[in-house]
Amino acid sequence: MNNIDIELVSVSKSFAGIPVVKDLNLKIPQGEFVSILGPSGCGKTTTLNMIAGFNTPSAGDIRVRGKSQNRVPPERRNLGLVFQNYALFPHMTVAENVGFGLRMRGTSRSDIAVAVDAALRSVRLDGLAARYPKALSGGQQQRVALARAIAPRPSVLLLDEPLSNLDLKLREAMRIELKEIQEQLGMTFVYVTHDQEEAMAMSDRIVVMWQGVIAQQGEPVSIYRNPATRFVADFIGRSNILPVKARNGGPGFLDLLVDGTPIVLRSSHTGRSTSVASCCIRPESIALMTDPAIQAGLQNRLDGVIKRIVNLGAQLELLVEISGGLNLTVLVRSGLSGRVPELASTVTLGIDPQEVLVLSD
C-alpha cells in the first residue's frame, strides 16, 4: 500500500447550521489521481476548500501525511490549487505568475527562472512567458494556472473543475494532458468535477459524493461495473433502472421480478440477494438479437417495439417498449451490418445475466 498523502477523518461541515458535508472518511494515497465526483451542490468544493484550509471543518480532522492540519493556515500547507476561473494575477506576466510561489518562498532569481521554464515547458507554454494573462486564450490561461500551481512542487495538487470553462474539444485534449502531467510529476491530484466522463477518463480512483456523503469510491471501472446505489448507477454512465423483487434463481443466479410486470430477469450477481430493491442495465450491454438460433438459448430474452431512434453518430440510441409498458434504452453501433433497426419494428433484446446489476435501493 502506498503512503497516505491526505486523510479525512469523520470530517463534517455546516454553514449556519445546515450540514453540507457529513462525516466524510477518505484516504488519498500518494501519487494517485483521485476525482471527487458529484452533482452540483453536493459539497465537492467545500471538501476541497477544507483540504486547502480555506474552510475549517465543523468536526473531524484533516491530515496531510499523518499530521493534523486543523491549525495550519493555507499558506503553510504546501498544497497547489487550480481554480475553475484560473485566478491568474492580471498585473503579472505569465512568468511572474508561474514564479510567484517560489518568489514568496525567497528562492533565488536564477532558480526561479529555471523552475518557471520547466513548469511552462511541462504545460507546453514556453514562448509565452512575457505575455500578460489577458492576452491568452482560455486554454492557455488554464495551462498557466496549472504551471503556477506545480512550479513550487507541492506534494498535492487540488483542482476544482479546472476544465469546465473550456470547449469540448479542448477539454478532451486537456484531460489526457493533465493525466500525463500528473504521471510525469508523480504528484497526488485531487480533482473535483461534476463531469463523470472526465472523472472516468483520468482517475485512478473516483469518490462519488452525494448530498454531503460519499456514495461510493473505487476504481472507475469497478464503479461503472458495480454501482452500489441507484444514485451512483444513474449518475455514472447511462442506465436503465428497474424496481425489482429478488428470488433464488438456482445455483449462481438470482431471479429478479420486475415490479408491475410479468418480466423476470436473471442476474448472476448473487452477493446481495437479501437486500435487492432494483436492478441496473447499461444501455450498451443490451444486445439486439437478429439470429433466431442464438435467441433460443438466451437467459434474458425480451421482445419489444422500437419507439424512438436517436442517431448519435457512432451509435444509435433506441427506445424499446417491452411488455408491461416498460421502456428500455438500448445503444447499438450505427455501422451494424445487416438490417438497420426501423421505427415501430419488433425486436428481440438479449441481456447477459452478468450485465444485470443489482442495487440495494
Partner: protein, 267 residues
C-alpha cells in the same frame, strides 16, 4: 421615431457640454484681454497677465495650496486605504457602522463644518492650529469619505480567488497585501487620491474659516482679490489653476494607467 430620439439625445449632449464649457471659454478668452477690463477682443491679445502670476502675491498662495493638497492627498490616501482594508477585507466587528461614520461628514454642509472646527479649536484652546494644520485636517475630513469609498469599492470588486491562489502558493498575509491586494486596488486608490487633491486644492467654503490672514490658499486669495478688483489677472489665475489640475489628473492617470491589464484574464 428613433431618428428623433437620436437627435434629442445629441442635442442634450451638445447643450450640456456648451453649458459647461462656454463659461470656461469666456474665462480663457478674458485672460488674454489687452485692456484691464475683463473683455475679449479676438484680434488683440496679450500674455501680460500670465506674467503677473509669477509675483509672490499669486505664487505664495499657489505653493501653499499645492503643499496642503499634496499632504491631504497622501494622508487621506493612507487613512482611506486603511479604513477600507479594515471594513471590507478584514470585516472588523461593526464595519458597517464604521463606514457610515466615515461617510457622515458628507451630510454636513461645509460652512457648518468650518464654523464647527473654528469653535472647537477655540474652545479647547488650540487657536494656534488655525492656518495650515487646521486646513490640512479639515480637508482630510472632507476628502476621506471619497477616498475610503473608492478604495472600498476596489476592494469589494477584488476577486477573492486571487487572494486564495496567492495564499495556496505560500504567500503570507503581508506578502499578499503587498503583491496582490495593493496592486489590484491601486487604480481605485489613485482616483480617490486625485480627487482628494482636487477637493483640497479648490476648496473655498471650509478654508475661508481656517486660513490665517496673509497666509491664504489660492482660491481664498482669488476671493479676497475679487472683493476689490475684477481684472484679467483673475481670469489668468483661474486658467492657470485649471491647467494645473488637468496636469495633475493626467499625471495620476499615467501612474495608475495600467487599467488595460486589469481586465480580462481573471474575473
Amino acid at each position: 421615431m428613433s431618428h428623433v430620439l437620436t437627435f434629442l439625445f445629441w442635442l442634450a449632449i451638445v447643450l450640456v457640454l456648451t453649458f459647461i464649457t462656454l463659461p470656461l471659454l469666456v474665462v480663457v478668452a478674458a485672460s488674454f484681454s489687452p485692456t484691464s477690463a475683463v473683455t475679449f477682443v479676438p484680434w488683440e491679445w496679450t500674455f501680460d497677465w500670465y506674467g503677473d502670476l509669477l509675483a509672490d502675491r499669486w505664487l505664495q498662495p499657489f505653493l501653499l495650496s499645492v503643499k496642503i493638497a499634496t499632504l491631504v492627498a497622501i494622508i487621506s490616501g493612507v487613512l482611506g486605504v486603511l479604513a477600507a482594508y479594515a471594513i471590507v477585507y478584514e470585516r472588523v466587528p461593526g464595519s458597517d457602522a464604521l463606514m457610515a461614520g466615515l461617510l457622515s461628514p458628507l451630510s454636513v454642509p461645509q460652512i457648518v463644518k468650518g464654523v464647527a472646527i473654528v469653535l472647537f479649536l477655540s474652545i479647547i484652546g488650540l487657536q494656534g492650529f488655525l492656518g495650515t494644520p487646521a486646513l490640512i485636517a479639515a480637508h482630510v475630513v472632507l476628502a476621506l469619505p471619497f477616498v475610503t469609498r473608492m478604495a472600498a469599492t476596489s476592494l469589494a470588486n477584488f476577486d477573492g480567488n486571487l487572494d486564495r491562489a496567492a495564499q495556496s502558493l505560500g504567500a503570507s498575509k503581508r506578502q499578499r497585501l503587498q503583491h496582490i491586494v495593493l496592486p489590484m486596488i491601486k487604480p481605485g486608490v489613485l482616483s480617490g487620491v486625485t480627487l482628494a487633491f482636487i477637493i483640497s486644492f479648490n476648496n473655498i467654503p471650509l478654508s475661508v474659516f481656517l486660513v490665517r490672514p496673509g497666509d491664504t490658499t489660492l482660491p481664498i486669495t482669488v476671493i479676497n482679490y475679487l472683493e476689490y478688483s475684477l481684472d484679467p489677472v483673475m481670469a489668468a489665475v483661474n486658467v492657470a489653476s485649471m491647467a494645473f489640475i488637468l496636469t495633475v489628473i493626467f499625471l495620476f492617470e499615467k501612474i495608475g494607467g495600467f487599467s488595460a491589464q486589469l481586465h480580462g484574464g481573471s474575473k
